[in-house]
Amino acid sequence: MENQITTEITNNLFTINNLWMMIATALVFIMHLGFATLETGLTQSKNTLNILFKNSIIPAIGLLTYAIIGFSLMYPGESFAGGVFGFAGFGIGTDAAGLTSSYNIGYTYWTDFLFQGMFAATAATIVSGAVAERIKLSSFLIFATIFVALAYPITGMWKWGGGFLDTLGFYDFAGSTLVHSVGGWGALTGVLFLGPRAGKFVKGKIHPIPGHSIPLAVIGVFLLWLGWFGFNGGSVLSADPGLVSLVFVTTSLAASAGAIGAMATSWTFLKNPDLTMTLNGILAGLVGITAGADLMSPADAIAIGFIAGVIVVFSVIFFDKVKLDDPVGALSVHLVCGIFGTLAVGIWGEKAGLDQLWHQFIGVISVAAFIVPFTAIIWFILKKSIGLRVSAEEEYSGLDIGEHSMEAYPEFEKVS
């Protein structure tokens, strides 16, 4: 009898935990809409349909490749050999045990797969923003498929799958490095191989190409903040009341401080309360807190968020200065603040210390050392084979007509 009672209590806890993890999954899912509208808002209307196409198909590619190969690569489990690579075989599936707390007290096998699969797809989305308005659709789709099927799960395994970075003591709670920097490095090599959009840098001068719809960008950022409750909160991997609620607080305070940091910086140094910078500041705060969201006090979270918000403004200006053209600020938000957030674990919070800082640094470097050459090779092969960039003529008249023979707002174009 007592046994049965204990089992039922455990089952209840398992049901609660799993419920939260499923909801967190749905929240991470909605981040894809956030990315879609943010990227659309910050680019030109003639490329809108193209960007939305990519963002609509990425979750599909991400989930399907993760089902076929990614999940097995990232969490090889038993069959795992060595610290750098493992593979548990193609496809997904579970026996009855995968649906009980004996699989994990926090979630079922299916929840595990879907939560992780939603994460995987975000890495590719990060790249999509940085290379927007000039990349060929087919090349991007091939890149994205390889990227989420191989690059993301392999580095992910190094830490979350129990690989060598985990052994080392590297800490990355929800993926400042494993998700955001991974996406960021892929974006950086993409931007380098592609070159800037026509008209962005003319005779050494920067010509801004303003995004066509600020409301869409704002919708995107709010949805991303919302989704981050699942992204960070779900990374507790259970509904633990103390931990998840702390993560909610640090996440929100970092986002808030990021907004204030970016607003203050743009108002002071650029003499302009720049909304796009403030929006990037919110995201910067979110990315910055992600690596240590469970380790920080409110004050730590505010400090990290605020600094990330300041950094992101100067970073956007810096990338413009060095003529790396990133229409949506993905490099600044995901790569730069991803690195900052990872290092922040060694500077603030429970784990702060020189040792930890060093481990964090190793983590950042290791991931870069793999993702940069890996993605560079894909970009290179694509460039030499089917080509990376649309024609100048197509870029001028827009990728919507060029790649899709359609328009996102046909009425503005049609007289009738």
């Binding site: 010509h207 303003p210 743009s266 003499k271 200006i317 413009d320 600020g329």
Partner: protein
């Protein structure tokens, strides 16, 4: 027959067309244009980089009328659209050979 094309401040349009109707001008065509003359646009800032928008949003009002009504139309425009500040706009007058009302086929002054 004359065409009076005036490029005016957008928010003056309502006043102008009310005044024109009161004086018996029962037709006009409006379009949105941008331009500059003495008045230039302003500087915008996007993500830290400045750029000049030299063009100012204006409204172009076209009135076709009999030559002898031309003076009246011009003075209505001057009265309603003038603020004395740079940016008040310009009027261009040209000659129209003929006008036709599509519905009836009437031509010349009948068509106006």
């Amino acid at each position: 027959m004359k065409k009076i094309e005036s490029i005016i401040r957008p928010h003056k349009l309502e006043e102008l067309h009310t005044a024109l109707q009161e004086e018996g001008f029962y037709g006009l065509t409006v379009s949105e244009v941008r331009g500059y003359g003495r008045q230039k646009g302003h500087t915008e800032i996007y993500r830290g980089s400045e750029y000049n928008l030299e063009f100012v949003p204006k409204v172009k009002v076209e009135i076709v009328c009999a030559s002898n009504q031309c003076e009246t139309a011009i003075s209505i425009i001057m009265n309603t659209c003038r603020t004395g500040e740079i940016g008040d706009g310009k009027i261009f007058i040209s000659t129209i050979d003929d006008a036709i009302r599509i519905r009836t086929g009437e031509a010349g002054r009948e068509a106006l």
